[in-house]
Symmetry: C2
């Protein structure tokens, strides 16, 4: 029987960061990572394998190198069972490994829509975080022209844009009234939609797919409204479900939403076992409700928290709730959201106002590469606390969205944004007189005064 101190299952973003930080915090401990495939892909980079990147080999996490450089043992194997009472795991080859601390970072897998007839036909794909699958899929797509993507979340949108970029005829089908409709409010979602459709992706919203049609191979989809869309391949991008079989069978507590229950230190109900990333339960920073966010960035933050609390709890190193912070790029347009959207604020019955501002992300606005820049803030009416924000602009939108994340995390208010100290530069940001966070706050302040 092998013996290790810290055992991490999974080597994607969460597992990688947990192993590295676990070792850094506990240099005297032996750290072992078990991973199913020798090469783990950068999860958010997967859509770009189909366009911007030559192959999946350009989208590999440098885990093995980093593990070796940091004295961490990597094993390529599948874990069959967690035996929590004896603090050991059983591998597919029958081998057993004991641990002092176990970190479960088993991630998630694509939702398979079993209710949709035809999903087993040839050339129906999903987008799993599985290099072997993705390589085969990329090879098969090479010869196929007409693609239908079902589901317009981030993966569906990014896959559609990348396949369009390499000359495919892409139709993106979404049940909701807007693409990215769960991430953004309509005013921002429509901007994404316009950009994507100008780039050549055919977008159909507010329609459901009834059936995938064809014989052996896909021929297209039949919509609920009777319409048919012809296709040589279908990409299912309907979201992901957490991989919790191992945890469930081990008797760890699973939440109603099907995630591994964890506390603010990322501990499961068994004190020596931690769970992080897509498989772990999250609580929203603002709504305090369970959150179904699955993001590598969130996973990495959780991994850091777990690593810092493995052997001794540190009261200040806890997680006060997940702030969902997303961003995406379509061409040279960037879109982002942090915290609550207005839709969620309404749904959750917050007393809120919004503050909006549209300006330009350069000054003067006639400088090359200038983009319109729209910011919307969601503000607690009584407190002035910023609950969320959305950005549509150029490629600085990613970091600007992170700034909004920071505003939410620090529970900053409209008043503090009115006084916000920022730096501006003609080629890098909006003008100081028209900085979007301040101007959107002014807009919100006006509404609060009324």
């Amino acid at each position: 029987m092998k013996k290790t101190d810290i055992l991490v299952i999974g080597s994607s973003a969460a597992g990688l960061v947990a192993a590295l930080n676990g070792k850094r915090m506990n240099p005297e401990k032996e750290v072992t990572v078990i991973t199913k495939q020798a090469k783990t892909m950068i999860p958010c980079g997967i859509p770009y394998i189909f366009g911007s990147l030559e192959s999946s080999d350009k989208n590999i996490l440098p885990s093995s190198t980093m593990f070796e450089a940091n004295g961490i043992t990597e094993m390529i194997a599948e874990v069959l069972k967690i035996d929590k009472d004896n603090r050991k795991v059983v591998l597919s080859g029958g081998e057993e490994i004991t641990y002092e601390k176990l970190v479960i970072a088993t991630g998630s897998q694509p939702i398979s829509p079993k209710w949709l007839p035809g999903i087993d036909k040839k050339n129906v794909f999903s987008v799993p975080k599985d290099k072997v699958y993705i390589d085969e899929m990329k090879a098969k797509l090479q010869g196929l022209k007409r693609i239908v993507t079902i589901g317009a979340g981030f993966i569906g949108v990014e896959m559609s844009d990348e396949l369009n970029k390499v000359g495919k005829e892409v139709t993106l089908i979404e049940r909701l009234p807007n693409i990215l409709g769960l991430a953004f409010d309509e005013d921002v979602a429509v901007r994404c939609q316009n950009v994507l459709s100008e780039r050549g992706v055919k977008i159909m919203t507010g329609v459901s797919v009834k059936e995938i049609i064809g014989e052996d191979s896909v021929k297209g989809v039949l919509l609920e409204n009777g319409e048919r869309v012809e296709a040589d391949a279908i990409i299912l991008s309907l979201g992901y479900i957490p991989n919790v079989d191992l945890a469930k069978e081990a008797g760890l507590q699973i939440s109603d939403r099907g995630c591994i229950m964890v506390d603010e230190y990322m501990r499961t109900d068994e004190p020596h076992i931690f769970a992080i990333g897509d498989c772990a339960e999250k609580r929203d920073f603002v709504t305090r409700k369970p959150s179904c966010i699955m993001l590598a960035s969130t996973a990495c933050a959780e991994a850091r928290v777990a690593a810092m609390n493995l052997y001794k709890l540190s009261a200040i190193k806890t997680f006060s709730g997940t702030i969902s912070i997303f961003a995406t790029a379509i061409g040279d347009h960037g879109f982002g959201v942090a915290g609550l959207t207005e839709t969620i604020a309404q749904l959750e019955n917050f007393d809120y106002v919004t503050g909006e501002f549209e300006g330009v992300d350069r000054h003067p606005g006639c400088l090359p590469d200038a983009h319109k820049q729209f910011v919307k803030l969601i503000v607690g009416r009584e407190s002035g606390v910023i609950l969320g924000g959305e950005v549509a602009g150029g490629l600085s939108a990613g970091e600007l969205t992170n700034t909004i994340g920071m505003i939410i995390e620090n529970r900053m208010t409209v008043n503090s944004l009115l006084l916000l100290q920022i730096g501006t530069h003609p080629l890098l940001t909006a003008s100081p007189a028209g900085y979007p966070l301040v101007k959107a706050a002014e807009n919100a302040a006006m509404k609060m005064m009324k």
Copy 2:
């Protein structure tokens, strides 16, 4: 005698924002702005008039339009005198205007190095915020090939890069060992220097100019070391001095550094007169010492504070000190700094550690437009509070620098950065496992533990 309620002298960034916000906060009041020239340039856009922009007409603040739209009176005139006892100003035409509240936003002008022989020769220029001067200068430079820029602060660097872009032979001369040596620590300054010099600007550092040579017209400069650099034109960019003559003659208190003394509400020692922007005294957020920052972004923040406190003070709407936040771009490289540099931390005798991280601003790093991204944080050793940070990367560096500004403003610590929640995207940011603010904080934390 004319009468107004709120009178603003100056319509650059500070004056513009003070007038607009003064009116917004006090819609029943009459607001008048006095400005010397009909068109006011966007101050930080001035260097770009010489390269990226066709003409200064592309770099105009939309003040007149905005004043008109908001019911603000604009007068083109020069103020000769402030009579604070009678609450009135006297204009160049002899006209007098009384006010209830006066906001002085008279800005700054280039330092004229009287100690340097030859500054009165033909084709020796400075970079004032004066459209007529800038237009004439641009016209004259058209026919001249060899340019020497003296002084490698932001204006000197940006002027050099822009003139180089349009085919001039530019030599940038700096007395300090590095360009941008007052803004950045050497490790970041050297990166700027390398980029600028790769683009074709000849850089001479650690040398002083002894004399500007030539007959009537400039022929070049003579250096302290005896060397000569030939030139058809000289650009002096040695910094700016505040315009305080009016305030001084009115008997308002002037600081040792020559700025108008103000309190946290931006009031001068005369309670009905406010001063904002380059002409107003500043106190550094971290060192608590007077600061000689002159930035449009700071000016706008001060303008907002003044506008909110004109008629009634609001205790929560004050300025707790200036955080210097700068950014610049050279080609597709972005550089920024917020708060203290290590040089200043050392000089001021802070007990500090630094945290550094170099990664890539895309993930995977082989994506198009990926840049190396270096972040350095300055951290109070005992408290872990973030005192400052520097960024060298791609064009997202501007907003990333603003994030550091937000970290400083919220007095966030290394511990909170270790848990930081961020959003990442392959085409917009560094990877979640290698997000520079978190990684630099980890680096600092390691040093603090030792």
